[in-house]
């Protein structure tokens, strides 16, 4: 098990290094710098600006400098927001996105697992059909269609909630619901599939034969194995929720890191782009690592192969 974790960890580190290097050189090789858009920048000012941010040094030097400060947790100054560091900006915006992400993940898991389990237990009844159609609908209608339509209906026509913003706790409902439902759909399908497989197995029959109630059989015996496919989907799901937040934060005008990332790319704010990409990469990889470990813990077959 320890060997398994170590090898996965080293693999993540390598991937992270690749992400950092690829992004660093990609943003440097593109036409147009962060200061080209600014009006009336004389050559001297430009030179001063570049010297200030170390952009006049040779590329390999900039790369090593960046890795050096990164190792100390310093993501450097922002090019577009004077006097602000990337660390500060991320510190401001990340909690907002983290809240949105966790709420959405909660919505996705609760709705998805409940529907999927119900569908499997009541297979081929109307409950199953309703739950399965929900899965298909949720997969096929993208968030950027559901989101605006819900805003149109619930916020603009009915006036129950605000159409955008991130002030009161009621403002959390629509964004978290839209983003959560998108991932509840695949989760419900995976849960249904996993549960159907498990419910046929001998140990379930044994549990029933010993007189365990149906509720107990499902929640205590079947769910642990039945949720395996869901666990392996959690990595992609969280990555999807992270990138999905670009769209949701744009639709609902939420001041989170997703919107900031898209803006920073448009503004060619090199350090902010790099900082957010690294942040996303670390989050996604850390999560994949956790998922791998949990999966191995839940399923000895995976553990022994690793």
């Amino acid at each position: 098990m320890l060997r398994f974790i170590t090898s996965r960890f080293l693999q993540s580190l390598l991937a992270l290094f690749l992400v950092i290097s690829a992004t660093f050189f990609m943003v440097r090789f593109v036409p147009g710098g962060p200061f080209t858009a600014e009006k009336a920048v004389t050559p001297e000012i430009l030179r001063n600006l570049e010297a200030h941010y170390g952009l006049d040094k040779p590329l390999w030097r900039q790369y090593l400098d960046y890795l050096g400060s990164l190792a100390q947790g310093d993501l450097g100054p922002s090019f577009k927001y004077p006097n602000r560091t990337v660390n500060e900006i991320i510190g401001d915006k990340l909690p907002v996105s983290a809240e949105l992400g966790l709420l959405s993940l909660g919505v996705a898991l609760v709705i998805g697992i409940t529907l999927g389990t119900l569908a499997a237990v009541r297979r081929n009844t109307w409950i199953d059909y309703v739950a399965s159609s929900f899965g298909m609908i949720g997969i096929s209608i993208p968030t950027f269609v559901v989101g605006p339509l819900l805003v149109l209906g619930v916020a603009i026509h009915l006036g129950w909630l605000n159409a955008s913003g991130w002030y009161t706790s009621a403002d959390r409902i629509l964004p978290a619901l839209v983003l959560g439902i998108a991932y509840a759909a695949p989760i419900s399908r995976l849960t249904r599939g996993g549960m159907l497989e498990i419910l046929h197995q001998d140990f379930i029959r044994t549990a029933r034969a010993k007189g365990a109630s149906e509720f107990r059989v499902v929640t205590r015996h079947a769910l642990r194995g039945g949720l395996l496919p869901v666990v392996s989907y959690l990595g992609p799901a969280v990555a999807g929720i992270l990138t999905g937040s670009f769209v949701i934060e744009t639709i609902f005008q939420i001041p989170g890191i997703g919107r900031e990332f898209v803006n920073s790319a448009f503004n060619r704010d090199y350090t902010l782009v790099l900082g957010t990409v690294i942040l996303y990469a670390v989050l996604i990889m850390a999560l994949n690592l956790v998922v791998d470990v949990v999966q191995a813990w839940m399923n000895p077959k995976v553990r022994l192969e690793g």
């Binding site: 693999q11 992400v19 690829a22 990609m26 096929s140 990332f261 898209v262």
Partner: protein
């Protein structure tokens, strides 16, 4: 598997089914099963209808997709403009159909890129096995953990919003799963006797891979290709929605949805029609893909 498809008669078929002269090939069986799946049939018909409409519609319409009518402005659906017009007075129906060409085109082209890379990569890894396989699949594992949509966004921002780049970038993201599926299938098939026979006849590796192995794993490849198209179209629309994909006055479903979402308060039809059209297409593709999976009896295992 094709080798097991020579069963005599057709015990599984209901009474009254016409006798089948050429015996039951895998494909014939699959077709019969697919035809019984109502949702898959619905998907097929609606896809055919949407494709024909998108290809032929813009020619038949009296309006051009970028033809403006500023005096008219945004108007609700009417006899002249069946789906209404946008704020520049452009006919929404023709923009929707033209956008469909772009969206479907990007979907097909990027899927083709993903298909080609994935099949070749997976087949090579699976066929040769050993160290080469280990290195190739570890690479896929590592790439899986990269935040790819983010890279696609960066590519689009930095290197201009160019449609060729768009589908190359999307295709480069989506081949990973195809490679995994093809590899596991190839590993299963290559141990079979008919491959042994081909080897003993002295056929080269390339011939064995492309003429003997690949035709036998077409089922999973077709199923997964059908399911990749909606994923690709979704990614294109996602980028266009963020303003990074197809650029106006060109139109794609993502562009129209973005436009509609901005103006939905006054002109809801600008959001509702493109949203419905796009979702219907994704639905149909997903239904068809699911139906094909059941019909061809492809298990969604990844090992």
């Amino acid at each position: 598997m094709a080798t097991a498809a020579t069963a005599p008669a057709a015990p599984g078929l209901p009474a009254g089914t016409e006798p089948i002269e050429k015996g039951n090939s895998l494909w014939h069986d699959a077709w019969l099963r697919l035809r019984k799946n109502k949702l898959a049939v619905f998907g097929m018909f609606s896809l055919a209808f949407i494709t024909v409409a998108c290809v032929a519609g813009p020619w038949l319409s009296p309006y051009g997709y970028e033809e403006q009518n500023l005096d008219l402005g945004a108007s609700a659906p009417s006899a002249q403009h069946w789906l209404g017009t946008d704020t520049l007075g452009r006919d929404l129906l023709v923009r929707l159909l033209f956008g469909g060409r772009v969206s479907l085109g990007v979907g097909l082209a990027a899927t083709f890129v993903a298909l080609t890379i994935g099949v070749v990569y997976g087949a090579v890894a699976g066929f040769f096995g050993g160290k080469r396989d280990a290195i190739m699949m570890r690479t896929v594992d590592i790439m899986y953990s990269l935040p790819f949509p983010i890279f696609v966004i960066l590519l689009m921002v930095f290197f201009g919003r160019n449609i060729i780049l768009l589908f190359v970038a999307i295709g480069a993201v989506e081949w990973l799963t195809m490679a995994r599926i093809v590899r596991s299938q190839v590993m299963a098939v290559k141990k079979m006797e008919f491959i042994e026979a081909a080897r003993s006849l002295g056929f080269g590796r390339r011939r064995i891979i492309f003429r003997h192995i690949l035709p036998n794993i077409l089922g999973p490849i077709i199923v997964y290709t059908t399911l990749t198209i909606p994923a690709v179209m979704l990614l294109e629309a996602f980028l266009s929605f963020l303003g990074l994909g197809v650029q106006p006055p060109m139109s794609s479903w993502g562009v129209l949805i973005k436009d509609g979402a901005e103006k939905m308060e006054e002109f809801p039809w600008l959001l509702v029609f493109p949203g419905t059209m796009f979702s219907l297409t994704l639905f149909s593709l997903n239904f068809l893909g699911d139906g094909l999976r059941d019909a061809l009896d492809v298990r969604s295992s990844k090992d």
